[in-house]
Symmetry: C2
């Protein structure tokens, strides 16, 4: 795979859109629309009593409120672990005693390079919630079992949230 | 939530990029970069002997080959079930006796409206593989157990693939 050209279409606050000209191993040359994204970290907050802390967040792209785990974009050069800890406290007001990486996912590799690093947070203690002005969300606690049922019922639809909850449920 | 303006930045073969001006319920007005995507269908092919059929596909955005389940974009107005059946035959050469919807995921609701509808295919019989000229992939069969281990080891990183395999593994 060889990229002969990368044409910048747009550079915004969050996204960069390029059209890349790529020659595949079979000799075919194609133009690919690629969204460059800084990457993100997300975190499954698991309390000692088996409850998980989710947010119900307003998402314009989803047309309303959706269930998610706390998450946020990486600042330039930021360690994903640091980002996960930061979002955990800012979005839901918890500090983690322990943060373990579960996995890192490619959200939509057909058109974006976005990677989300997913962590499990345990040993939770109270910190200070501090929402950005463009974050509209409510915090809720449910049992991990109930969360898995919400995935199976199609009520939880966010990819990073499903992956994180399922890995925690499998004991990772 | 009220959208007062949607500025079109780019309309490509696959993606449309808009910058939408949105007023949140708290009165804050923000500009959001939104990638409009036609949506997609993906399918977990489960054989009677407990093996799943995956592809190892070259993805420019991921910088190399990644493990995935068969998937493809919806044609305009296409039923996702039809799309899943089509991609199953085109990408791996199988026809499903039965296709059941597992769930529908939001891949990256922070910046795109993409939805992937995920199915389970069983009762597989031989059809005719027919790859597009820009699809570089190999087909492999592994046990569902092995696939779950590859998720836990971080070898399978694609979000739709993890969600589909985990739901099938839980018996859905």
């Amino acid at each position: 795979m060889h990229m002969s050209k990368s044409k910048n279409i747009f550079t915004g606050k969050v996204l960069t859109l390029n059209v890349d000209t790529v020659t595949l191993p079979n000799g075919v040359t194609i133009d690919l629309e690629i969204v460059r994204h800084p990457g993100a970290a997300a975190v499954v907050p698991l309390k000692d009593n088996g409850m998980v802390v989710l947010i119900k967040q307003l998402r314009h792209a989803a047309g309303g409120f959706i269930y998610e785990i706390p998450a946020g974009k990486l600042d330039r050069g930021e360690d994903p672990l640091h980002c996960a800890a930061r979002e955990l406290e800012e979005e839901i007001g918890y500090v983690a005693g322990r943060l373990e990486r579960l996995t890192s996912i490619l959200t939509a590799p057909g058109f974006t390079d976005e990677v989300i690093h997913i962590y499990k947070a345990t040993g939770l203690t109270a910190g200070r919630q501090q929402l950005d002005r463009d974050e509209i969300l409510e915090v809720l606690e449910i049992s991990l079992e109930e969360a898995i049922k919400m995935i199976e019922a199609g009520t939880i639809r966010d990819a990073k949230t499903i992956v994180g909850l399922q890995l925690v449920s499998r004991g990772r």
